[in-house]
């Protein structure tokens, strides 16, 4: 998938905004949102939040996790742990990129937050590469990847699955025939064995 398609999926997440206009509830196919009360926080899908922000119709309320202390902890833990730690949400990078891109003035310490999120991303990406290599070395047939977000998983495509496919193909084509052949050999041996018995 294209990163923009993953972003598209992530844009369905609900975020909080403060509209600067007042309006009735809106009935969308993906659910009902509103009523819009100027100055009062409310929930909308991320794509709608971005659209309203572009039209300067709202401020974005930064998600709880977009906070220096919280992120500092995540980063420390990510560094410490051999495994992937659980991220604040499945689309943290999409949320971060969109909100910090279009509404950095709504996020306190936006510049620092941007840096620290990028640090976390980089730590996780390099961990991902190490674990991909480990997976291939250890067998390359199966892997468990809890806590990886969709954008991170997407970054391993097509390399990891295609390398696993390729490895399996070599095994099937090269090894299987050998097994078949060695089976043939064993059966010949047992035949000769049985002929000795008679």
């Amino acid at each position: 998938m294209d990163p923009y398609e993953v972003e598209f999926i992530g844009e369905n997440r609900i975020v909080s905004i403060i509209p600067n206009f007042t309006y009735d509830k809106i009935y969308l196919i993906c659910g009902e949102f509103g009523p819009f009360r100027a100055g009062l926080p409310m929930n909308v899908p991320l794509w709608l939040a971005m659209m309203l922000k572009q039209k300067q119709k709202c401020r974005i309320v930064p998600p709880d996790w977009m906070d220096l202390d919280v992120l500092e902890n995540i980063k420390e833990e990510e560094k410490r742990s051999r495994f992937f730690t659980k991220m604040p949400n499945e689309h943290y990078m999409v949320e971060a990129k969109l909100i910090l891109g279009a509404a950095s003035e709504d996020v306190p310490n936006a510049a620092e937050i941007k840096t620290i999120i990028k640090d976390i991303w980089d730590i996780r990406m390099s961990k991902l590469r190490t674990s991909m290599d480990a997976l291939m070395k250890s067998g390359g047939g199966y892997g468990r990847l809890d806590h990886l977000t969709m954008m991170e998983i997407n970054s391993a495509k097509p390399l990891l699955p295609s390398a696993m496919d390729y490895l399996l193909q070599i095994q099937m084509k090269a090894q299987k025939k050998v097994t078949q052949q060695s089976l043939l050999n064993t059966s010949t041996f047992s035949q000769s064995g049985s002929s000795q018995n008679t």
Binding site: D2, P3, Y4, E7, K97, G101, A102, R129, M132, D133, M136, K137, G140, M151, N154, S155, K157, P158, L159, S162, A163, Y166, L167, Q169, I170, Q171, M172, K173, A174, Q175, K177, V178, Q181, S182, N185
Partner: protein, 194 residues
């Protein structure tokens, strides 16, 4: 694998590689298959290098018309190098279709060592693919890869690039379709030649 390879150009090119065979029967009028002989006929027992597709087809006849020998790159001395450190080998020089050809050859290797070498080699070299797709010196990183490894590294490279673009910029831009753009480019190049 199911028979999905019939129309694959890659498989056709792989099966075009020449491999050493020994003919087990006389072949009248086929002397030209052996460039070193002037005879009109090919005699049983002759060793000749023929394309893999022909070898496969003649080997599968009952009784087989040829026996297939291991090409030297799958023999002990090469396998030792590969098993020691596969990442030092320049596959492009050794054989671009090292793995694919090896898969065909493996069945003629009763001991099954070729299969193991192929598997180990690919597992070891996976880290070369990982670094090729982020390397700044992409030419240097791609150079020693086999054709299929290059393809995988190139695909991974385009993911890497798409992700980098996504991280850097805002909206996705609608662009000209691929073939359209390439035909335009080609047309321009052709016009500039005149």
């Amino acid at each position: 694998m199911e028979n999905s390879n019939y129309l694959s150009v890659t498989d056709i090119l792989v099966t075009n590689e020449k491999i050493p065979c020994k003919f087990l029967h006389d072949l009248p009028k086929m002397g030209f298959l052996d460039p070193s002989a002037a005879d009109n006929d090919l005699k049983a027992g002759t060793n000749v290098e023929i394309p893999l597709w022909l070898a496969e087809s003649l080997y599968s006849r009952r009784p087989p018309l040829v026996s297939v020998e291991l090409p030297k790159i799958y023999k002990d001395s090469y396998r030792e190098i590969l098993n020691a450190d596969a990442c030092t080998v320049d596959m492009h020089k050794l054989n671009q279709h090292f793995y694919e050809l090896g898969c065909y050859i493996a069945k003629h290797d009763i001991k099954g060592e070729v299969a193991n070498t192929l598997i180990n080699t690919f597992r070891q070299r996976f880290r070369m693919l990982l670094s090729a797709c982020v390397s700044t010196d992409s030419v240097g990183a791609i150079q020693p890869l086999s054709a299929s490894e290059r393809q995988q590294a190139a695909d991974a490279g385009s993911t890497e690039k798409a992700l980098a673009t996504w991280l850097q910029r805002g909206d996705s831009v609608l662009t000209t379709a691929n073939m359209v753009a390439n035909h335009r480019k080609r047309k321009r190049a052709e016009m500039e030649m005149f």
